[in-house]
């Protein structure tokens, strides 16, 4: 036990002023400021690729709610990580249409090939593989979705390999300029 309380590092704001302005610009859309929570989380996520605690507390300040309320909302949804995941996130669908056509096995195959479990990031930090309950792209089943919007399907073993190789080359969309 240290004799003195640990010195807190100075808090440096994570959210840039333009990003804060962008969040405030949402206010006229809704009767309450709190309603901007999800759009604000999406904006921060697009900027940082995650929503750390500090960002939650800064969002709370802008929306005039408590940090706990932001965390309460954020943690309910499966989308927002608190620390950055891989450069590209890919969801492989395991819903009924994809499962019937081998979705579960393809998820296993992808994880085996990358040496990770579902939900983990590759050692080089390039790729995170997650399962999805349903992606709504059943016409491409078994399907996968990258977080830059690329859709892959109908997949089989070799196509999963090709998909992983392509995704490891990085994101296709422009990084958000905030």
């Amino acid at each position: 036990m240290p004799a003195e309380a640990p010195i807190q590092p100075p808090r440096i704001a994570i959210l840039t002023d333009p990003l804060k302005e962008k969040i405030r610009a949402l206010f006229p859309r809704y009767p309450s400021k709190r309603a901007a929570t999800l759009p604000a989380l999406h904006m921060v996520h697009a900027h940082l690729r995650c929503v750390p605690l500090q960002a939650m507390s800064e969002i709370a300040e802008i929306l005039e709610i408590t940090p706990a309320e932001v965390h309460d909302t954020m943690s309910f949804y499966g989308f927002f990580p608190q620390a950055p995941l891989g450069d590209v996130r890919v969801w492989m669908c395991r819903s009924i249409s994809c499962m019937l056509r081998g979705g579960d096995e393809l998820l296993e195959h992808a994880c085996d090939r990358l040496g990770i479990e579902s939900g983990q990031t590759t050692a080089d930090g390039k790729l995170t593989v997650e399962f999805a309950e349903c992606l709504g792209i059943c016409d491409f089943a078994p399907a996968a979705l990258a977080d830059d919007g690329r859709v892959f399907g109908p997949l089989d073993g070799p196509k999963v390999d090709a998909m992983l190789d392509e995704l490891k080359r990085g994101r296709r969309d422009d990084p958000p300029r905030v």
Binding site: R29, Y30, P31, S32, R34, A35, A36, T37, L38, P39, L41, H42, L63, I65, E69, D72, T73, F76, Y77, G78, F79, F80, W91, R94, S95, I96, S97, M99, L100, R101, D104, L107, E108, C111, E117, S118, G119, E130, F131, A132, E133, C134, L135, G136, I137, C138, D139, F140, A141, L145, D147, D148, G149, V151, P154
Partner: protein, 469 residues
């Protein structure tokens, strides 16, 4: 029988069908212009009521009637468009948004005018990244062209339309879950009453309509209620987008009159069951609706007929075909896994019941099943949310129906599976092993109660925890 003319999907095969230019060249926004400049809001409501358009989101509630529930003396109305289509195997709304977003915007405009709403929120699931981008562009186009904004068509009517993105939660497709999520909270459904029409988003009277429902509205304004009622079966009127996926040659989304049969969809429109096999069963409308066995495939897919073979209803009319090479236990495992993962956790019967269901089915699949498990599952399914008032929303019902249907219709197969797959190792629970060996109880990898768990599934990938949306 007159040939059926598709209307909802009529622009899909045209190049750039998502643009305002193409939509207007095909007669787009004429219905909205007609409604806003020549009709009173109540006249629009009455016309939609006369057409007996029923909501396409799953419950099939009459759309016009829903609009009349708004209080007469209201100061403000909000419109929420439910585009959080997350029911497995359902993708018709995605087609509507990606291929013809202006048809949806026109429907929203007319519906908002009819209900006197001046603000509308289009709640889109985040997985529809492409649809989201297209919608944002289409709304900007519509706003620039004066189809949205102030004093639309000189009628004095104003409308703002905003897209609000979800973040990966099935429950936000439930109307009050959607409203909570829109308000910036977790998507926990609300106890009804008050119904959203009386007290919805931000405590204001709110209409929640599905994408496909609203896409029907411009066509009703243009062609009339009699035209709409001439399509379909008695009590189930109008065109419907059917999606077919699973074990078929072609996974498709087609527009047909309400009341086509599953068999017609599979054989005529989806190219038959894949690999020349036979269908063992089909899910008629998203997995929460239950299951049709092979000899029930001639049931018309409409709002009335699906009760007879014991399904919950038409749901989203998303047909999933299961071939005769697939064990029915795989279907059960998939559906129970889905509902256990997507239960919002607010109501105990659903939160605990879906978890028990999944663990029991895992155990059966792994070879640790007992014949009496089937009765336990039926008992559980009948008490998950069927008794009125046990759960706030319908997710528990949706979780129960696949179990009830599969155990009733495929009991023989399930019993055979249990008998032929029983492995002595799987019969012994981790708790019994722990007691016998005198060591502390080890929980299963998914953290469940050991007494209910057989050996863990082949890989932790299938466990209900871990990341995912």
């Amino acid at each position: 029988m007159p040939t059926f003319e598709p209307v909802l999907s009529r622009n899909w095969n045209i190049a750039d069908s998502h643009t305002l230019k193409v939509y207007e060249s095909r007669g787009g926004y004429q219905a909205a212009r007609k409604a806003l400049t020549t009709m009173a809001p109540d006249a629009v409501v009455n016309l939609v009521k006369d057409s007996e358009l029923r909501g396409r989101g799953g419950a099939g509630f009459p759309c016009g009637l829903k609009w009349t529930f708004l209080p007469k003396d209201r100061k403000e109305t909000l419109m929420c468009i439910n585009a959080d289509e997350s029911e497995p195997a359902t993708f018709n709304n995605r087609f509507l948004m990606e291929k013809d977003p202006h048809q949806l915007i026109e429907g929203i405009l007319i519906a908002c005018f009819a209900t006197k709403a001046t603000t509308a929120y289009l709640y889109v699931r985040f997985e529809y990244i492409h649809a989201y981008k297209i919608l944002e562009e289409a709304i900007a186009e519509a706003r620039a062209a004066g189809h949205l904004g102030k004093n639309i068509y000189g009628s004095g009517y104003n409308l703002d339309l905003w897209v609000h993105r979800g973040a990966g939660a099935y429950i936000c497709g439930e109307e009050t879950g959607l409203i909570e999520s829109l308000e910036g909270k977790r998507g926990w459904p609300r106890i009804k009453p008050p119904f959203p029409a009386i007290e919805g988003a931000f405590r204001k009277p709110t209409v929640v309509n599905n994408v496909e429902t609203l896409c029907c509205v411009p066509h009703i304004i243009e062609r009339g209620a009699t035209w709409f009622k001439s399509i379909g079966t008695p009590k189930s009127y109008g065109p419907k987008l059917y999606t077919v996926s699973g074990h078929v040659e072609k996974q498709v989304c087609v527009e047909l009159p309400l009341g086509v049969t599953c068999r017609e969809l599979i054989d005529v429109h989806a190219g038959g069951v894949w690999k020349g096999r036979k269908a063992k069963a089909a899910v008629p409308g998203g997995i929460s609706m239950g299951l049709l066995s092979a000899d029930e495939l001639d049931t018309p897919l409409d709002f009335e007929s699906l009760r007879k073979p014991g399904c919950l209803g038409l749901g989203t009319a998303a047909v999933t075909v299961i071939d005769d090479h697939t064990p029915i236990i795989d279907y059960l495992l998939n559906t129970s896994r889905f509902f256990a993962h997507e239960s919002c956790g607010q109501c105990t019967p659903c939160r605990e019941g879906t978890g028990w269901m999944e663990k029991t089915i895992h155990r059966i699949k792994a070879g640790g099943g007992r014949i009496e498990d089937l009765d336990v599952m039926l008992h559980l399914a009948n008490n998950l949310g069927i008794m009125p008032g046990t759960t706030i929303c319908g997710l528990a019902d949706g979780a129960a129906w696949p179990i009830k249907n599969a155990v009733t219709k495929f009991r023989g197969e399930l019993e055979d599976y249990i008998r032929s797959h029983q492995s002595p190792a799987a019969q012994v629970t981790p708790l019994q092993i722990s007691i016998a060996q005198g060591r502390p109880v080890e929980l299963s990898p998914n953290g469940g109660l050991p007494i209910l768990n057989g050996p863990p599934p082949a890989r932790a990938l299938h466990a209900p925890d871990g990341r995912g949306v």
